[in-house]
Subunit: 386 residues, 2 copies
């Protein structure tokens, strides 16, 4: 029995070395038998084209142009962006009192937000798409990331090569921004449980003049680990460790590892990690892009199979900033987080409330138990046979 087996039975905290925080794990609360599926498997009732959807090809957007008849992906600037490229200046009043300058700190943020569709089909999801069909999404992410890099970026050469290798796709083209931005956050919000009102498969890409909290904390932790451990990488070491330990591994191919991380907060949280030192999308080779598409397909299909439902989640990619030092690029390690709220069935969800907001995140089922369940549902997408 591995030494850590006792952690299946006792309350404990686990440390997240990637962002430097702890969470509470209460496995004794899951002693009731696993009941499996409680509801009938959900079918897909959506039309392939919805005339009212602002993301379907050919449709008019409320405050924008008409969408083209795109074939794969389509990117456009969000009509309701959380940040804008141009706005009034703001700098803290230099005459301000000492205490206000400490306790009422603000920084202006500029940037640009995009919406990117994954497919012209209103009724599909990443779980329904083959890896070959997900590939154009990754190619478009790579193109957009490359076009936003600073001119002196450590990955500029890789960016030029990557864009040359990728087949042209006019619908995924966006103009580079006027001012150099600091970070690009690619994220998907899927399902009504995540507050997403439009089922048309899409993600958002927010680029900002500031480095946001979460990737910022991770970058600091990764740089610190590298410095303290002879230049070794936190996620490089972690990949090796998990491949060896096996118990948290959900799936892997030559280039990517899918695990329920030791420090997972969400019941079926997974992280997709590059096995070699990939700093950002532009580092990926043709073959690695396809292997990344495979990894995304495996995660999303297993999610849907788990409770035979269209599984909600938020996912996001962390990689090197758009404008960064040589050291920051070196410390970056490409990975993708999936945070799904479902717990025991299509209708029983976890809420991040109460103790979790006031004190510390908490989970019942262990990451090892979650990984075992996700390993076991790798078959064909359940709704293909409904």
């Amino acid at each position: 029995m591995p030494h850590e087996k006792v952690l299946d039975d006792i309350s404990h905290r686990r440390y997240n070395p990637l962002n430097g925080s702890w969470l509470l794990v209460s496995p004794h609360r899951t002693k009731r038998p696993w009941q499996g599926q409680q509801e009938a498997p959900s079918k897909n009732q959506l039309p392939e084209y919805d005339p009212k959807c602002y993301l379907c090809p050919g449709n008019q957007r409320a405050q924008g142009d008409a969408n083209p008849q795109y074939q794969n992906t389509f990117a456009f600037v969000n009509d309701y962006s959380a940040v804008k490229e141009e706005q009034q200046d703001y700098s803290p009043d230099p005459k301000t009192e000492d205490v206000a300058s400490l306790l009422l700190q603000a920084q202006p943020v500029t940037g640009r937000c995009y919406v990117l569709t994954f497919s012209p089909k209103h009724d599909t999801t990443l779980a329904d798409m083959r890896a070959q069909e997900i590939l154009p999404v990754i190619e478009t992410w790579t193109r957009i990331y490359a076009s936003h890099l600073s001119s002196s970026h450590p990955l500029k050469t890789e960016a030029v090569r990557a864009v040359q290798d990728i087949p042209a796709n006019a619908d995924g083209e966006v103009d580079p921004p006027k001012h150099q931005l600091r970070y690009m956050q690619i994220f998907e919000n899927k399902g009504a449980a995540m507050g997403c009102s439009n089922p048309h498969p899409h993600c958002q890409i927010w680029t900002t003049s500031t480095l946001p909290e979460e990737p910022g904390k991770e970058l600091i932790q990764m740089a610190k680990y590298k410095q303290e451990h002879d230049g070794r990488h936190l996620l490089g070491d972690y990949v090796k460790l998990e491949v060896e330990k096996k118990e948290r591994v959900v799936w892997q191919n030559d280039s990517f590892l899918v695990v329920c991380p030791w420090w997972a907060i969400w019941p079926f949280e997974v992280i997709v990690i590059a096995k070699r030192h990939v700093r950002a999308l532009v580092d990926l080779t043709d073959d690695e892009r396809l292997q990344f598409a495979e990894a995304i397909q495996e995660v999303t299909r297993r999610y849907d199979n788990l409770f035979e439902t269209n599984f909600p989640y938020s996912s996001g990619i962390h990689q090197a900033p758009l404008d960064c030092t040589e050291d920051e690029a070196k410390a970056s390690w490409f990975h993708m987080h999936f945070y799904p709220p479902l717990l025991r069935s299509a209708t029983v969800r976890k809420f991040l409330v109460g103790y979790e907001l006031m004190a510390e995140p908490q989970r019942d089922i262990t990451p090892e138990q979650a990984a075992a369940k996700l390993r076991d549902c790798g078959g064909e997408l359940y709704r293909k046979s409904l």
Copy 2:
């Protein structure tokens, strides 16, 4: 026009000095006119006594005893606690490889979790109760906190005095735990939107052998501020500043300030802060306990009045740890957070998803706009006249 007025129009980040993190504010997205109430005001349809409720007086709990015919509050150990007092030992394997000891860190956590009812009435809420009726809740919190303090605690004398001053209430009595614990987190989860299934007014009290993340980060930030600013307190300075600036103040009495903090994440988040240096519940005088009850009454009634609904929220008290050094007690400053998810009406809520999970919390309406609305709805509880 105050210098910061430009922040009403531009995207910016604000710094939370209490936990050391930033959030994104996008006020330009609220330019649409305020639409006010969209739904009919909600009545209270609940019975005063529900024979199926496990918190009503006299009822039998699933895994526990029968509840007494209590008059005010009633405390009992949670039948499904997230932590237990006794469990197997765990200490990391000293022979373990270097990398696993860095990346797979765990700590055992023991403790005890209580449920505390606020009233025998199934159909009431803090918003319905008068300050005099909320007072026994605060008295019970104080008693329970006092009975869990370590024998050498810097506030032991204050604890003895406080308990002597409080009228006896056998129903709120709990035995002290066998082993000294580190922190007591008092929190309320109210409403189905917060995943709370039982409307009977109650809170939870989780005591643990470890100091949880959130109060732990706050304690570090407060101690740092104190050290760097001639022994002045972060929240002491903040109270003075906000009383002066006025724009984020919702309500105040002699002893407590209610503000939408500069760094609020939730649309109508507020923080209730002691005006003088109160380190924990046991520092409060008789009069201050009543003034704290008044503050809680003002917050919860205004919340319900805002959208004429039974307003959901998570709230929680941060104070000195149960077992702490003299310095930790000195750095602590008593306050209570309220995190409500509603945004524009009883049915439009904020989701903490996507960008907020992957990158950084984000809000549209500014704390100044939120405070103005909460100042304006201080009248009688809306449902009294339905």
